[in-house]
């Protein structure tokens, strides 16, 4: 085994540039495979975490810009009339789309006691706003802008401080939340709401609640009731499409590995017909020659795997550090899991050995003298 290893290493080192080119060519495909796989995995994980909401939103219809909506107090009365048997909680909100830094964000405000039970905000760092001029920001927005707890932000010309960073379940827009009084003061508007979130009671079909609300004469065709999911469904579909596409592309990259490894091995074997003929001529058996080719292919594939995996990890690390991947305000944690790495290794090694075996079948069917006369 040691003699074989020595022999193969000498052979690989003798043709360094060729070996390096083969390794780099393969490593590029392997790195692409890992990066695409990581991306696909991140999207799949994110979609898995998406929860089905029991929330409904009631908002004025026939508006070009939803920010212009005004909630009629009668709508709240209609919802309250269904409490508690059909509706467990209601939460009127106000919102604006505004530019903060380089991002257009949705600024939201609601009674602070509703943030967790109805809007499902989960604090990741810092604290909920306790003072005037404090806000909490979504984790995607914080990551993409390198904001942290205590970072000052300018919203609508006023200075605020980030008191906390939250995560909201499912797929949401990049958003900043503030107490409702702060919101009214900031935009200098009368104390009114724009929409109301309605939470269907446990055990009640939200579809029934939606219908009952929609049929209430107090809404009188001026307001429409939506599932909260409707609001984010487009985003979820977009991400599902991207996830499917990533899956396909990572399979294409895997096929790239298949052909890359196979071609590298086959070409190397076919080009060495004369050398294989010499080995057979001096008495090496077909099995031993195949063993040498296997060893060479495996070493080359392992090198390419090491380089490809390292490059993918480096890319992911630098990408996460410099500019984290955030799609529609949701951060995606790219990761190459040990399972992914192990699967990749099995694929790469298996294909290298298979490619070597297949390419030698044609070679071994030729008489030694024909191999010796090949260039």
């Amino acid at each position: 085994m040691l003699s074989a290893l020595r022999f193969v290493l000498k052979d690989m080192l003798h043709d360094r540039s060729r070996t390096a080119l083969s390794v780099i060519g393969l490593a590029v495909v392997i790195a692409s495979y890992f990066i695409l796989n990581a991306l696909s995995g991140a999207l799949a994980n994110s979609l898995e975490a998406t929860t089905v909401s029991r929330n409904l939103i009631v908002i004025q219809n026939d508006l070009i810009d939803p920010s212009d909506a005004i909630l009629d107090p009668q709508v709240i009365e209609a919802a309250e009339a269904l409490m508690p048997e059909a509706i467990s909680r209601i939460s009127p909100i106000v919102f604006r789309h505004t530019r903060v830094g380089d991002d257009v964000v949705q600024l939201r405000a609601a009674a602070q006691e509703d943030w967790q039970p109805i809007h499902h905000l989960m604090l990741l760092a810092g604290a909920w706003p306790a003072q005037d001029r404090e806000v909490v920001v979504g984790e995607g927005l914080a990551l993409s802008n390198h904001w942290d707890v205590g970072t000052p932000v300018t919203i609508f010309g006023s200075e605020f401080t980030i008191s906390g960073i939250f995560r909201s379940p499912g797929i949401a827009f990049a958003s900043i939340w503030m107490p409702i009084d702060t919101f009214w003061a900031l935009f200098d508007i009368a104390h009114h709401y724009q929409a109301v979130f309605v939470q269907a009671a446990v055990g009640v079909d939200p579809e029934v609640v939606l219908q009952r609300l929609q049929d209430d004469p107090r809404l009188s065709g001026r307001f429409t009731v939506y599932f909260e999911d409707n609001y984010s469904r487009h985003n979820i579909h977009a991400l599902q499409d991207m996830s499917s596409m990533m899956s396909i592309v990572s399979w294409v990259a895997l096929m790239g590995i298949v052909f890359g490894v196979f071609n590298a091995t086959t070409l190397s074997t076919i080009e060495r017909g004369r050398e294989l003929g010499i080995l057979l001529g001096v008495g090496f058996s077909h099995r031993r020659v195949l063993g040498l080719i296997w060893l060479r292919s495996a070493l080359q594939a392992l090198l390419a795997y090491g380089v490809g995996l390292s490059a993918a990890l480096l890319y992911i690390f630098s990408q996460q550090t410099a500019s984290p991947l955030i799609i529609l305000g949701v951060p995606f944690q790219l990761d190459i899991t040990p399972f992914m790495a192990a699967t990749g290794l099995v694929w790469v090694l298996g294909l290298a050995l298979f490619g070597a075996w297949l390419s030698t079948q044609r070679i071994f069917n030729q008489p030694v003298v024909e191999l010796l006369s090949s260039t």
Partner: protein, 223 residues
Amino acid sequence: MLIIAEELTKYYDRGSEKIAALHEVNLQIPAGAFVFIVGPSGGGKSTLLHLLGGMDRPSAGKLAVNGFAIDTASDDELTRFRRQHIGFVFQFFNLLSSLNALDNVALPLLARRERHKTAQKQAAELLEQVGLGSRLRHKPAALSGGEQQRVAIARAIIGKPSLVLADEPTGDLDAANAEAVMQLMLELNRSLGITFIVATHNEALTRFGDRLYELQAGKLRGR
């Protein structure tokens, strides 16, 4: 007899045509002989050597070397036969460019699963014997044609074969190197008792041999 060939025939397919490279060759060569086969290029010399060395199979006829029937042997049996009985010297040396002289000479011993150290020691001794003691670590590209052929001869005899087949071993060498290579083979034939069969179109070299055959258009005749 070391070699017995009866009605040995080899055809090659060229499209729909069959070309007879060897036609019903009969040959008997005793052990320890130094034999020359001469003839024009394309006359069948190389084909005969390849058949004798178990690198190709005859189309018809019988061929036995050292009692081993080449015409009926399997691939594995031919490999074992070459490993144990045959040394080959080619016109263009056929050395592995990635290995130095020492490693090239040691190859047949590694094929026999000899220990690396033992193989290297024997290879060094042989290279010393053929006058390349100072060139052990040189790769083929750094050796002259004559030196490369001496490396090839050392590789051919390291496994102590009963038969060495040399196909135009001086074809790529100048006159002085050709003479030196022939002298070396003759010495090895005399000192080790190895049978040598040398194919050449250079009749001037045949004075070194004790038997001479001529192959023309696939037909062999003694001279």
